[in-house]
């Protein structure tokens, strides 16, 4: 019988398992399971610690922490709405700037770039992720902010007449929501482009060849055959970038102007949750103040959780649509 050697091999493997490596496998399995379980356990431990510390503030102030915007330590008012607003807006601005740029970089590197150029550009883009955020902050203060104040902001507000809209009105000091958004865009870009590039490169050759064989131009091929195939991976990359932007502290604190006010104008200074905690934690002495800062941390934790859940859902629903 022709199947005999396979059966024999199967038998032999089973025998080997029982004889020699039964314990080894068990130990290995237990070890990796412990590693895998340690991470969720850590997340739960962090969540429990934050919410326990935040509880006194929630118990005393309730949802006014989230809904009111008066943060006055001396008076015991802790309304973090401007910081929540600032975190969401600065991250959104960052994604609006970074996403097209990062996907453009990824498409160029995976579809157009000659081999000799692909490596160095990819390396340099990835290198952006390795720069410490305090360095981004310093660069923001000394290079980006003067540039924004002297050229970009007057251009947006006066030359393009965007000052007529509430989003670009008011005086341009430099430190602003816009500056924070630009810094965050640069910091999120390598995450988005790196993931997108890998996903695009993983699109099968046959997909491209099929599109070209149907008479598609290169652009049509990328648009209709490559990007739809890679869409869920690209969204995953964008969400990774968003996660980076939501939690970034140091660089944002250095360029956003740290003003706890809700303003529609991107030229106005703002505040973020992470900056608020970083600014006040070391000098907070009253229990309520500390607890309120922890409550802000808890809100940030929940928002990050929601963003990740939405990302999962997007990736899942896009993937399902494709297979249908």
């Amino acid at each position: 019988m022709t199947s005999l050697p396979v059966d024999w091999l199967e038998n032999d493997r089973r025998k080997l398992r029982v004889d020699a490596s039964a314990y080894g496998d068990k130990i290995y399995e237990a070890l990796t399971a412990a590693c895998a379980l340690a991470i969720p356990a850590l997340v739960i431990a962090i969540a429990v610690a934050i919410f326990a510390a935040a509880w006194p503030a929630f118990a005393k102030l309730g949802f006014s922490i989230v809904t009111t915007s008066d943060w006055d330590v001396r008076a015991g008012h802790f309304g973090a709405a401007p910081a929540i607003f600032g975190t969401l807006v600065s991250s959104t601005v960052a994604l609006i700037i970074a996403t097209p740029l990062a996907i453009g970089v990824a498409i160029f590197l995976s579809e157009f770039a000659p081999l000799w150029l692909r490596q160095p550009i990819g390396f340099l883009v990835d290198l952006l992720a390795a720069i410490p955020s305090v360095v981004y902050g310093l660069w923001g203060i000394f290079v980006l902010i003067p540039l924004l104040r002297e050229h970009v902001m007057p251009f947006l507000r006066d030359t393009l007449h965007l000052g007529a809209t509430p989003f670009f009105s008011g005086p341009a000091y430099g430190p602003s929501m816009l500056a924070a958004g630009v810094i965050l865009a640069i910091m999120a870009l390598p995450y988005i482009s790196s993931v997108s590039r890998e996903v695009l490169m993983a699109v099968p050759r046959s997909q491209r060849e099929a599109a070209l064989a149907l008479g598609a131009t290169r652009w049509e091929m990328i648009r209709d055959a490559v990007i739809p195939y890679a869409r869920s991976g690209i969204i995953g990359g964008i969400m990774l970038g968003l996660g980076r932007a939501l939690g970034e502290t140091m660089a944002v604190t250095m360029v956003i102007g740290n003003r706890p006010e809700i303003s529609a104008s991107l030229l106005a200074p703002g505040y973020t949750m992470a900056s608020l905690i970083a600014n006040e934690f070391s000098e907070a002495t009253s229990d309520l103040h500390l607890s309120a800062l922890m409550a802000v941390g808890a809100v940030l934790f929940i928002i990050t959780l929601i963003v990740n859940a939405v990302a999962r859902w997007l990736v899942w629903s896009v993937g399902r649509r494709r297979t249908q």
């Binding site: 330590v73 001396r74 430099g174 430190p175 740290n258 006040e280 000098e283």
Partner: protein, 352 residues
């Protein structure tokens, strides 16, 4: 076989001895935590003191708030703060009565970026308060011009910069503004964080200095030592006696000399807006926080000895690092106050 076991045992015990020896050589005799502002002079004191006595002190500059917390929880032997503890904080300290020992003094200066000035600005306290309250918004405001005759002041907005992080510098500054302006005192008050009505927030002295340097028309407040070391311009501020005083080590010490230490041994005193024609008004002390009842005899003795050394020898090094030393009249009072510390239930004075 037995031989190997024995040799391993010998090696182990030798290693234990060795590591024990190393551990005791590296051991720290006293630990403290708190203010960042006096950290440079404190670390110089600790190293000088270790050289002359062999007693090692580990100090972590985690901020005044952290120092107060750690002292209250008794995780450190002493704390340090740029602002005195509040009555509520004192009541919450688990080791009993906390004594405030002033060590050195510093000042907060008003730095600015106004192109084309021919001499330092003169500012009075009510002007500074009104600028930070958003009531004066232009550099050529009539009240600023009135105090700076002949200085070309531009017709541009004043861009106010303040600290965004909780800090002793903000405490000293707002303490002064509260002392000089009743409306400031009632609406905004003093504290390590203020709900600023106008301006941009920047993190740390370097953040404020960076913003002010970058933006023409801006004005901010930083520590004197930081401004001196970085060559920033700063304003002369009018004192109670009506003189415009340049911030300097001498004018800060003069401010302290004008104050009298209270008899009740509560040394949480403010030297903001101090009397005397040479006094720079935005001055403050920084404190070491020590429990009156020292339960550990060895540690308590060392701590008192260190403080005695600070008032005897340490103060002389202060000026070299741009801190103002305490006036000599105050040192004698503080030396005698050290005797009120009780070590393992016996008074320091009695033990000698």
């Amino acid at each position: 076989m037995i031989k190997t076991v024995r040799s391993i045992a010998v090696a182990l015990s030798a290693a234990a001895l060795l590591s024990g020896g190393v551990a005791s050589a590296q051991s720290v005799d006293l630990t403290g935590a708190g203010a960042t502002f006096p950290y440079p002079i404190y670390s110089k004191w600790f190293s000088d003191y270790a050289q002359s006595t062999g007693v090692k002190i580990n100090y972590q500059s985690i901020g005044s708030g952290g120092g107060i917390r750690q002292l209250s929880e008794q995780t450190v032997d002493f704390g340090a703060s740029d602002g005195p503890m509040t009555d509520q904080e004192l009541a919450g300290a688990k080791g009993g009565v906390v004594l405030h020992f002033p060590t050195v003094m510093g000042a907060v200066v008003i730095t600015y970026n106004v192109p084309g000035l021919n001499r330092p600005l003169n500012l009075s306290g009510d002007l500074i308060a009104d600028i930070y309250a958003g009531r004066i918004t232009k550099w050529n405001d009539a009240r600023i011009v009135a105090q700076n005759r002949g200085v070309p002041l531009p017709n541009s907005d004043i861009l106010v910069v303040h600290r965004s992080d909780g800090s002793g510098t903000t405490y000293i500054f707002s303490d002064y503004l509260s002392a000089i302006s009743p409306s400031w005192s009632s609406s905004l008050g003093k504290g390590k964080e203020i709900k600023w009505p106008v301006g941009l927030g920047a993190k740390g002295n370097e953040g404020v200095a960076g913003q002010v340097k970058q933006m023409p028309g801006s004005l901010g407040y930083v520590e004197l030592a930081y401004a001196k070391q970085n060559g920033l311009p700063y304003a002369n501020v009018r004192n109670v006696a009506g003189y415009y005083v340049t911030p300097s080590i001498a004018s800060v010490t003069a401010a302290a000399a004008g104050m009298k230490l209270p008899k009740n041994t509560d040394y949480r005193i403010s030297i903001a807006n101090a009397p005397g024609k040479d006094s720079y008004p935005i001055s403050s002390m920084t404190w070491l926080l020590v429990y009156q009842n020292q339960t550990d005899k060895v540690k308590g003795t060392r701590l008192v000895d260190f403080l005695r050394w600070v008032y005897k020898s340490g103060e002389k090094a202060a000026a070299s690092l741009d801190y103002a030393p305490l006036p000599s009249s105050m040192l004698a009072q503080l030396q005698s106050r050290l005797k009120t510390i009780r070590i393992a239930d016996s008074r320091v004075g009695a033990a000698q």
